[in-house]
């Protein structure tokens, strides 16, 4: 269990949390709690159940948004990568979406879709989708030519080509797009709770700040980061089991 990589992980956790504790004790700022205080607040939030009811709220737009971005984003990305015309038609939208300052767009979304779940899902999608779409499209366009020729020469159909060559070959980039997209989706979910209506984890953050309960505020922030990291690790594991051997590059490298 305590092999080298795990030891290093433990060591870096000790260093990060240790410096947090020291910075809190100095204190760097009155509004910066120590690590131990924050963890206590986290335990209290969890014990009272506030944290879990908050996550039920926060995870709704997050799960729906990330789900839509993944399915729609990968499909659109595949289509863009396969068709020049569709690329010309659709990809500018995502380039603009990626470049747009989201906070400035939120008032427009609220005007159009109100303050409910729809707006929040939109915010998550705007954050998560562009990188998933653009990464998938780029990966599809760069499928090694000889693999496509191989599939053709051994009588593969167009569907074989897509499922057995293009998607697996694109999978490392698709997954890296997913990782970036999902972490952007987490940002979007919290941003929407801070900017649209305070619900869920965003509510804990806003409310604790307003009553100067800084340990609870940092506890909420810490918990969302932890969740995001755990989810990204899960994604990485999924990729490794699905496409074993792919992570070590192409044979022609």
């Amino acid at each position: 269990m305590l092999n080298r990589p795990n030891l290093l992980k433990l060591l870096s956790a000790v260093i990060v949390f240790g410096s947090w504790e020291i910075a809190g004790r100095v204190p760097v700022s009155y509004s910066f709690p120590t690590f131990v205080d924050s963890m206590q607040a986290l335990a209290v939030l969890a014990w009272e159940g506030t944290l879990f009811t908050a996550y039920v709220e926060t995870l709704k737009p997050l799960a729906v948004g990330v789900g839509i971005s993944t399915v729609l984003g990968i499909s659109l990305g595949l289509w863009i990568g396969l068709s020049k015309f569709f690329d010309w038609l659709v990809s500018p939208i995502f380039v603009v979406m990626q470049a747009a300052p989201l906070a400035a767009l939120i008032p427009l979304l609220v005007m159009a879709y109100g303050i409910g779940l729809t707006s929040k899902v939109f915010v998550v999608c705007i954050m998560a989708m562009p990188v998933i779409v653009l990464n998938t499209a780029g990966a599809v366009r760069h499928t090694p030519e000889s693999m496509k020729e191989m599939c053709n020469s051994f009588l593969g159909t167009r569907l074989d080509m897509l499922i057995k060559i293009i998607i697996p070959a694109a999978s490392p980039l698709i997954f890296s797009g997913l990782r970036l997209g999902v972490s952007a989706g987490f940002i979007g979910a919290i941003l929407s709770e801070l900017k649209i209506t305070p619900t869920g984890v965003g509510d804990i953050i806003t409310y604790s700040r307003s009553i100067a309960d800084y340990p609870s505020m940092y506890a909420a922030i810490f918990s969302i980061i932890l969740l995001a990291v755990l989810f990204l690790n899960l994604l990485e594991r999924t990729e490794k089991t699905l496409f074993k051997g792919n992570d070590l590059g192409y044979v022609s490298d």
Binding site: E149, N152, L155, T157, K164, L248
Partner: protein
Amino acid sequence: MSQTNPPPVATEEAPSDIAVSVRNVSKNYGDVEALKDLTLDFPRGELTSLLGPSGCGKTTLLKIIAGLLKPTSGEVEISGKPITGPGPDRAFVFQDFALLPWATVLRNVAFGLELRGVAKSEREAIAEKYINNVGLSGFEHSYPHELSGGMRQRVGLARALSVDADVLLMDEPFSAVDEQTRRKFQEDLLTLVHEENKTFIFVTHSIEEAVYVSDQIAILLPRPSRVLEVIRPSGFRNKSADSIRRDPEYLDIVDNIWASLRSYVE
């Protein structure tokens, strides 16, 4: 010095059983003429090399025969029937191996059969046999990145053999492997041509390699590509693999080919 047209060496009557026949094939890429009115026959059960300097369109010709590229004009016939695209009668061995990095050796070798819809147990049994034939038994469950370059090309070869096509198309198959492995491959190829009753079409830029392995060598010249001459070495074909390289006829042919090609190499 300027011996551009040496008399053909050791030419015998071409055999009448033609497996692949290329008729007046031209291929243009925009304004560039890659192939111009090229006609060539490939006798059944023999190995024919397409030899020429880079840019002479030998790979283009091979891909047209494979059905991967459409000729601008002219046609290719396999056993008398014109082709319209890739077919079950041809299998391709790629210069860069074109293996699936996410698939094991077993799945890679069986991949041609998988695309043809052969049931899993059946195709794996066939793949096992050819993995064994190319000397890779024990590596069935390895991934391509765990193999050396030479072993990867053996996987590519086993994949092409396992679909049991009449014609094997090889695009500079040994150019990405090291010299010693290449020599071993060339010797193995001689055995393969002898044992399997298949027609081999072999693209190479190495004169020695072409003369060593071929029953027939077609020398192509570049821009636009055309056939300079067809050489059929006869004297040393039945000798043992090690004595070919010392055979006077082998050395003569290598010299003559170089003499006719040198002026085209920039």
